[in-house]
Amino acid sequence: MAEGMESIGQRAEQRADVAAARARLMAEDASAYLAELDTAATLMLQRREEAELADRGKWLMRPQGSERTLSGSVLSPLRHMDAYRLTRLQQAAAAAGLDVARIGWWYATAALTALAEVAAGREVTAGQLEMATIRRSGRIIETRDVTSPASAVFRPQLPQQLPSTGREDLDDQAAATLERTREAYAAAELAGDLADRPRLEYCEAADMHDALSHAAAVPELLIDLARVGAQATHQIDLDKGNA
């Protein structure tokens, strides 16, 4: 008897879940799509970290066997081969940086699309998110032609402001991330403008350096923005479903 009561209760709960799921604007596959982008972003950040560490580690290690040539390390072929290796590690680190930029562009574009749709009360599916990003330059651009992760092709259009979720902490976090991303965009613009000049003054060169290091954070800021955006989307979706 008690078991029967329990199963009735469970079924009622399941029905409530199904009803809530139906009321949701965000399809299950859209959530999975954003979650996968999140995993992919983590993966790319880790690979970049690995590549950067390998590049740094290279400087600490002396090539084995190079002491054999009596004429010293300058002539040593092993030393020289080590330089080839260093070039390869630098190339790999640069490539890993571009991959982070691509995923940053992709994740941010998908998350901001989902947020805009759900906030406007429209349903969103993975198919839609895929369509919103598939033919755009930042996602599948041939990165051989692009040298900087802060380059314009990797900077998706930012909204004026993000829709309110009704949760103050989340909204503040979103506004702060959006602001920081916008500043990094401005730094990237400045670095681009300065690079176009034929000759830089000393102070301009210092500005350029600052701007470049600031702009280098664009991909990571986009991933942060995408994460906040995805969270906000879920929050709004949940609230609309419960309403």
Binding site: D29, A40, R68, L75, P77, L78, A96, D99, W106, G127
Partner: protein, 243 residues
């Protein structure tokens, strides 16, 4: 030292031994060639392994028709694959460069030993330093056989140590190298023809091109094998004369 009138044969000047620095230099080139080939093997394996591992996280990905196509993890896996291919292309190129270097230095060393001149590591360095092939970056987009560096080879019967076994070993190593060079030259001609005709080559020609490409791709390995034989000949000849 000898005065150059005595030697293994009357026609030939006396062979001088390889100096310690020259031996060490060639010994390091030998180690460098091993290292480059191991790194190439690693790159080949990394690329092959990539095909056998299903990317983690894809299972929870986007449901429905065409799911793996939409899955961001799958797509990111494509980025990774492109990086592995780039890494392999670089590793192949590095083997090509070290093979060029080793073969050029070994031939120069044997040549000097046979001419009765002492040769040092410094001199070998100078003979290879500013020559294209040693530090030359090849266009990564070029066909794989086009990335094989081809040093000048001695003509038939040009380099003779007077020791039948050494000479036979050098001839045996030189013959496949010559046919690989001619395969590469054929491919160059075929490349020009294709540009001129701008039409699809027939199947027979494709099979031939494939074979020629495989033969040409072996140039770096054959050069390393040849360099080893020549280095050995230089050491043995030098030692024989000095005792």
């Amino acid at each position: 030292m000898t005065d150059g009138t005595e030697g293994a044969t009357a026609e030939r000047p006396t062979a001088a031994p390889l100096t310690r620095t020259a031996s060490a230099y060639l010994g390091e080139l030998d180690a460098a060639a091993d290292l480059a080939m191991i790194r190439r093997e690693q790159a080949v394996l990394a690329e092959r392994v990539h095909w056998t591992v299903i990317p983690a996280g894809v299972s929870r990905g986007v449901d429905g028709p065409g799911a793996p196509l939409n899955s961001p993890i799958m797509q990111v896996d494509g980025y990774q694959y492109a990086r592995l291919q780039d890494g392999l292309a670089c590793a192949i190129q590095d083997v090509g460069r070290v093979a060029w270097w080793y073969a050029t230095a070994a031939l120069a060393a044997l040549d000097a030993v046979l001419a009765g001149q002492e040769i040092t590591g410094m001199r070998l360095e100078r003979l290879t330093l500013l020559r294209p092939g040693r530090d030359e970056e090849v266009d990564a987009q070029a066909p794989a056989w086009g990335r094989c560096f081809r040093p000048h080879l001695p003509g038939d019967g040009e380099l003779r140590t007077g020791d039948d076994r050494l000479d036979a070993a050098m001839d045996a190593a030189l013959a496949p190298l010559r046919s690989a060079y001619s395969a590469a030259a054929d491919l160059e001609l075929a490349d020009v023809d294709q540009d001129a005709d701008d039409c699809e080559p027939p199947d027979v020609e494709l099979a031939w091109l494939d074979r020629a490409e495989k033969a040409a791709m072996r140039i770096p390995d054959l050069l390393i094998a040849y360099a080893r034989t020549v280095f050995n000949a230089a050491q043995v000849t030098g030692r024989r004369i000095s005792t």
